[in-house]
């Protein structure tokens, strides 16, 4: 069936709640209102207020309570109304949840999910991509799906995982893309990238909404006989080092593309992995296309300037191909 990205996530959580009585949801306005983006629309009618809990506006309490419940063997799915608010719970996530298994051997099977990302003119507090804070935080899995198929398969995998999983839903994709999602139960493995488009000339390594920008650029570049491979990471922690190495070995040229700020961003980490794994295979410099080193601005012309564009990818690909 064809589902929107949002519906795929919603269906994934719904199915897990149907199958597993230990799964429950908590967050702000997720009950009768169904969540700010309606990901949990209708859940309270089906699963009841005991399993679909509206919380106070208190992100540390939401994460803390989800963590505590997970210690009793529950599988909580906590919603952040926007992932921009996740630093409100930073200590719980970083010092409490992430370190638990390493320090005292307690598994914390919880999911922290919510909308992130730009291109919607949400402004500096409703458009951020804060995933890197958690990539640099051992003990957490960080998932950023790009398609309805992956979104459903990965949210189910995250709920079934025995570790704390942060699930970044790209709000630009919520209702803008539809994709084929099978009716039967499936999961997409966490930590495995996928080739979104095969190509020979150069690789674009990216994830989430930027996968679609890369594919659009690849179509344009194909007319110029530049054959672009697009690697969709799907999970940014743990990174699929093997898939990154493989695509570089194949095309020898690589662009790394992400929305968040450049300095200390994921591109730097991936460049380091390429350096460690396949340095000899490179035929040109590793190119970064990223957001600017500032907060993400509100006004549409400014936001457009801040974020990577299809034209940026086309320009950089031409430059790299000619290198």
């Amino acid at each position: 069936m064809q589902l929107t990205y949002l519906e795929a996530i919603r269906q994934g959580i719904w199915e897990e709640m149907e199958h597993d009585p230990t799964v429950f949801c908590l967050g702000e306005d997720i009950g009768i209102y169904g969540g700010a983006f309606k990901v949990t629309d209708g859940f309270i009618d089906r699963f009841g207020p005991e399993r679909v809990i509206d919380t106070p506006i208190a992100e540390s309490a939401i994460v803390g309570a989800a963590f505590g419940a997970s210690l009793t063997g529950m599988r909580p799915v906590a919603e952040f109304q926007f992932m921009d608010f996740i630093p409100c719970a930073m200590n719980q996530i970083s010092n409490m949840v992430a370190k638990t298994h390493y320090l005292w051997g307690a598994p914390a099977p919880l999911v922290l999910r919510g909308p992130s990302g730009g291109y919607v003119h949400g402004g500096p507090f409703h458009s951020q991509n804060p995933e890197m804070w958690f990539v640099h935080n051992p003990g957490l899995k960080v998932i950023c799906p790009a398609t309805p198929y992956d979104a459903k398969g990965l949210i189910k995998a995250a709920i079934r995982d025995n570790n704390p999983c942060l699930f970044f839903e790209h709000k630009y994709l919520y209702r803008r893309i539809k994709g084929e999602v099978p009716a039967e139960d499936y999961v997409v493995p966490i930590g495995k990238a996928r080739i979104a488009r095969e190509g020979r000339d150069l690789s674009v390594i990216t994830y989430a909404a930027m996968v679609h920008s890369a594919l659009e650029a690849a179509d344009m570049l194909a007319k110029e006989s530049i054959d672009v491979e697009v690697l969709d990471l799907r999970t940014v922690s743990p990174l699929d080092r093997e898939a990154i190495a493989q695509t570089v070995k194949k095309t020898n040229r690589v662009i790394i593309l992400h929305e968040h700020s450049r300095t200390g961003g994921l591109a730097g980490e991936i460049a380091a992995i390429i350096n460690e794994e396949v340095f000899d295979d490179l035929d040109g410099p590793i190119v970064r296309i990223t957001g600017l080193d500032s907060a993400i601005p509100f006004s549409p012309p400014q936001e457009e300037h801040y974020l990577p564009k299809v034209s940026d990818i086309v320009r950089e690909a031409r430059r790299l191909k000619a290198y």
């Binding site: 589902l3 949002l6 519906e7 269906q11 719904w14 149907e18 009585p21 230990t22 429950f24 169904g34 983006f37 309606k38 629309d41 209708g42 009618d45 089906r46 699963f47 009841g48 005991e50 809990i53 106070p56 208190a58 992100e59 540390s60 309490a61 939401i62 994460v63 803390g64 309570a65 989800a66 963590f67 505590g68 419940a69 997970s70 210690l71 009793t72 063997g73 529950m74 599988r75 909580p76 200590n91 719980q92 010092n95 409490m96 638990t100 298994h101 390493y102 320090l103 005292w104 051997g105 307690a106 598994p107 099977p109 003119h121 003990g139 899995k141 025995n162 709000k171 919520y174 209702r175």
Partner: protein, 459 residues
């Protein structure tokens, strides 16, 4: 009278008097922890009463103490011989009051009282052993003490049932002993040994056990355990059990925002949180006068809409009774309780800190209220539940246990360097996750899945 008049530093926060009137001593108010008087009387359907004060709500916080220490700590400026000014803390108030008696417990049997006393002795002697290990250079880092707070740590944890959970803070090392951990566990943590519960990965009482002893590991940040423990109670409730979840927080720690979030979450969800606020006068070097403005922290319970109670934290019977009632409320599904235990941290923040900033008169006042000496006097001389000889034997037995535990801890090897690796994630079936109290019984509504048609929030 040590009633000192001192020159105040005008802008010091520490000089603010506490607002409100003196807490009402409500010895008989055990069953009505929060009282509401003058609730709105309906004069007709949907009509608000016009008489003044009908919406006025008055509350009282029961105070089980048999004395109400009356002094304040504030900053003052003193000149040295060279005329240079120095700021230090002064205490002002009645510091010569006689030591009150122990309040008879409503619930404790003779045997239970003696058992709590034994745990308090174990607590203190374990920490004395740790101090010696530190002086011998065997401890990595510092040592934290609960000196003067043993009644608060031990008698409160003693009120928990087997299926209840707890999460100690740094001064509650006694609670670990009550819940079945060995003194060597904590000692090995301090010595960073391979045999420690965290296998050397963390120190102090930072460890947990979700399998047998239902303990959540503390982290160094204050207040974060409160929402976590609320979540433990939530998880248990989803599995059909009302359990009590106990944690502690200091008068300093309660200043954090997550403390508010956690208590409020427990309150709105009616979860069985038993929060013991250890009002021990000092948060590292900062007196409670500079942490909060209200007279008693238990008053904050009113703001959360939950019961609050004040007890003497150096009286094991008061601690147990308040904890017991809070645990029983939790088991009945009646929600959280805040217990404020008043006492004094009788050492510095940790072993490196000589606490020279604490006015000596304050130490002298609380030294007379040593929880172990008071309880010993109560059991041996007042109740005559222990003879002098039995008490001597008990103390010797505890000392012997601690010596054995010390030997075990000292003889545990250090971890290998490589043991720093691994275990970051739960992979390859290292744990099987299953609900602790049984699979939740779910009731599902009749509505079926259908695609949402809701509008887009941001276009």
């Amino acid at each position: 009278m040590a009633n000192k008049r001192t020159k105040s530093k005008a802008n010091s926060n520490g000089n603010r008097p506490r607002n409100g009137v003196r807490a009402i001593t409500a010895h008989g108010a055990a069953d009505a922890i929060v009282r509401r008087a003058g609730s709105p009387k309906r004069t007709g359907e949907g009509v608000r009463p016009s008489a003044a004060n009908t919406d006025l709500r008055t509350y009282s916080i029961p105070d089980y103490r048999l004395e109400h220490p009356n002094f304040t700590v504030h900053q003052s400026v003193e000149k040295d011989k060279a005329g240079a000014e120095h700021v230090h803390y002064e205490v002002e108030g009645d510091l010569d009051a006689p030591v009150p008696p122990i309040r008879d417990s409503k619930y404790l049997s003779k045997q239970q009282a003696i058992e709590i006393y034994r745990y308090m002795l174990l607590n203190r002697k374990m920490e004395t052993a740790l101090e010696n290990l530190y002086k011998q250079g065997k401890v990595v880092g510092g040592v934290y003490f609960g000196l003067g707070q043993e009644a608060c740590s031990c008698a409160s944890a003693y009120a928990l049932d087997k299926d209840d959970w707890f999460a100690p803070m740094i001064r509650n090392q006694g609670s670990l002993l009550v819940r079945g951990f060995r003194a060597s566990d904590t000692m090995m943590q301090y010595m960073a040994k391979a045999g420690s519960p965290t296998k050397g990965r963390d120190g102090t009482s930072h460890f947990g056990d979700i399998e047998k002893r239902n303990m959540v590991s503390p982290i160094s940040m204050l207040g974060d355990l409160i929402p976590v423990m609320s979540g433990v109670a939530l998880g248990a409730r989803l599995q059909g059990r009302n359990i009590a979840v106990m944690t502690w927080i200091g008068d300093g720690g309660q200043s954090t925002g997550v403390t508010y979030e956690g208590i409020n979450f427990a309150a709105v969800q009616n979860l069985g949180l038993v929060l013991v606020i250890e009002s021990n006068e000092w948060a590292y070097s900062t007196p409670s006068e500079m942490q909060y403005r209200c007279k008693d922290l238990a008053e904050r319970a009113i703001g959360y809409g939950i019961p609050g109670v004040i007890i003497d934290g150096t009286d094991a019977c008061q601690v147990y009774d308040a904890a017991y009632e809070a645990v029983e409320r939790a088991h009945r599904g009646e929600g959280p309780t805040m217990i404020e235990a008043k006492m004094m941290r009788m050492k510095g923040h940790a072993i490196h800190d000589a606490a020279a900033y604490v006015p000596k008169a304050l130490f002298d006042f609380w030294k007379k209220r040593d929880p172990i000496a008071r309880f010993e006097n109560y059991l041996v001389r007042e109740k005559k539940w222990l003879t002098g000889q039995e008490n001597g034997e008990l103390i010797s037995e505890v000392e012997r246990v601690i010596e054995e535990e010390r030997e075990i801890a000292v003889n545990s090897p250090m971890p290998t360097p490589e043991s720093a690796e691994g275990g970051v994630s739960c992979e390859d079936g290292c744990h099987v996750i299953k609900p602790k109290y049984g699979m939740p019984k779910v009731k599902k509504g009749t509505s079926r899945y259908k695609e949402t048609e809701a509008a887009v929030h941001l276009k």
